[in-house]
Symmetry: C2
Subunit: 354 residues, 2 copies
């Protein structure tokens, strides 16, 4: 059995060993080695980008879903419909990163043939950070878009209870010699992960970000349970449309099943959409690069709001964090290390230093 | 010369004559009759739906753009690239509704052939309400999506000056025997049109909706000039990605040209994207209908927030307004009637009762 040692003194770990450790844990939970490597890479990528709520802190949850069978460790993923520009991928409850990576590769292939490629992913599971997949398209010189429909944790506008999912949306654009522009957002004002984090630290939440258990607006992180949609009807409207466009189109509803507390609703599920656009067919990629650099320069030179040091582009903070954490390691809270170590132990993977 | 009489006593006008009057004004400004009918229908549709900021109040502005040549009244629209699932439509500065209607029909045709159809519209002009076009797809049993990039009027997150456009986004889903679900939103917290309206009435704005001329946050409608993005970096990130995905991909940049105050930036322009998805290929349309009705029922039954009488679905308020205004007429403020009458007079179209 492989043993892993992490430099826990400063609670920073190097990405490579963390990735291999994470993959080994998933292999221990029953995943094929190739699939485990994809899931581990997606989670550690999120940590490197600073999205710790979508990183290895998810490992215990994923392992529990594998144990319960919500994540199928031996899925038979199937292209059950294909047309010139589209693919329907029946994911058979595969780990989200396995299904979504396959989906975006199909989308890129279709876009290469037809100009645009659209893939619906039916019955997948937690996708981690969507930017991981839209960047697959961007690295091929294409635009990538992805939506995911998940468990309804966010309030629907006008309601004081959850009704729709926080619904991640990601768009990436090719970078050429620049870095790709990468938008990766939820439709809630603050992400569920940040709400959970704030609950731990007790840091007050912004106005309009959350409801308490009684459904009353609150800025007290300790009382906050339900995130609110960004822009009221806009955020919850987008979330509803994504549930309809994926889950309902694919005949695999999530929100209604959970809200009606059916047996099916008790299982963790997601449905997703991956879209790639072969943007090089519509204009000169070099001109795009030049104009993107120009637009970034112009926006960054705008007069700044009070207290703002720098105007940032979508994905810029994440890229900087990625570079820093690649050099300096990923900071892991002791609680996460303890959890990981416990889960690993139970699967016969030993983490030294924990 | 045709003369039009509107019932001005109660400042309500019937849609049919208003549509014909509006079309006649555009014919007077040089538009072909068929194109004028499309533009008039799109504007009056917005009025019927209650989106008065995108209705006939725009006629004087459109006529002025036609006079200046920003809107080309005799455009040679050209499909300059076509692949199995995509079309590039060079709109030659056509009136937005003419270009976008054509674009969505191309998208629906492509989706019928390939599963998904994507159309980029290069160098079009003000598109009015995007929902008008996404509904074209929904009526064909398809999902419709549309984005538009326009003049940068909205603050980019962190800046105290405009940097990106308020960027409309629309998604429509087929209705079967229900009404289509229709999301039609801007990426600003409140739309520019509502900001202008509030400036007139003096009604206070919500926190975080606008900046004053100095770039300071304000809730005073009289002082508000620059709308703020919904969710800070989320709204302005979406807007930036739409400018890149349309204007920069198509080599027809808008934001940077306006912000750098170039000659090209002084001309009104838009670039758009229309997408249709043949959702019936991915699942049973009858099950979709059934599940959509179920989800709507479940969401409407959620416990309501304080002060909320009813939980509304995307497009529901607009549909009700449409039905009411179809029956009872479209309320037009006297100032709009006066403006319309003035523009009409100058073009040899007479509006009686004004």
């Amino acid at each position: 059995m492989t043993q892993y040692t992490f430099a826990l003194m400063d609670t920073r770990v190097v990405a490579g060993p963390l990735r291999r450790f994470t993959a080994d844990v998933f292999v221990g939970a029953g995943l094929a080695a190739a699939d485990a490597a994809i899931v581990a890479d997606a989670l550690v990528w999120a940590n490197l980008r600073g999205m710790d709520s979508h990183g290895v802190a998810r490992v215990p949850g994923y392992v529990e879903w594998m144990r319960r069978g919500d994540i199928n460790v031996k899925p038979h993923m199937l292209v059950s419909m294909e047309a010139p520009a589209v693919v329907l991928l029946d994911a058979d409850r595969a780990a989200g990163p396995v299904a979504m990576t396959s989906a975006m590769h199909h989308a890129v292939r279709k876009a290469g043939e037809a100009g645009v490629g659209l893939v619906f992913v039916r019955a997948t599971t937690h996708t981690a950070a969507l930017g991981y997949y839209t960047l697959i398209a961007a690295r091929e010189g294409m635009a990538g878009l992805a939506f995911a429909a998940s468990t309804p944790l966010m309030a629907y506008h006008g309601a004081r209870a959850p009704g729709v999912s926080t619904t991640p949306i990601s768009i990436a654009l090719p970078g050429g010699d620049r870095d790709p522009l990468l938008l990766d957002m939820s439709t809630s004002l603050i992400a569920m992960g940040k709400l959970v984090q704030a609950r731990r630290t007790g840091e007050p939440l912004p106005e309009g970000a959350a409801l308490d258990a009684e459904g009353r607006p609150t800025t007290d992180a300790k009382q906050a349970v339900t995130p609110l949609p960004v822009g009221g009807p806009k955020g919850s409207g987008l979330a509803l449309m994504v549930e309809c466009l994926t889950s309902l189109v694919l005949g695999n509803p999530i929100a209604a099943e959970v809200l009606e507390q059916t047996e099916r609703g008790a299982r963790h599920r997601q449905n997703c959409l991956a879209l790639a656009i072969d943007v090089g067919r519509f204009g000169d990629p070099q001109m795009f690069d030049r104009e993107a650099r120009r637009l970034v320069r112009v926006l960054k030179a705008l007069p700044r709001a009070a207290g703002v040091d720098e105007i940032l582009m979508p994905g810029e903070r994440g890229r900087r964090t990625f570079e820093r954490r690649t050099r300096e390691g990923i900071p892991l809270p002791a609680s996460v290390v303890t959890e990981l170590s416990k889960v690993a132990d139970a699967l016969g993977v030993t983490m030294l230093g924990a």
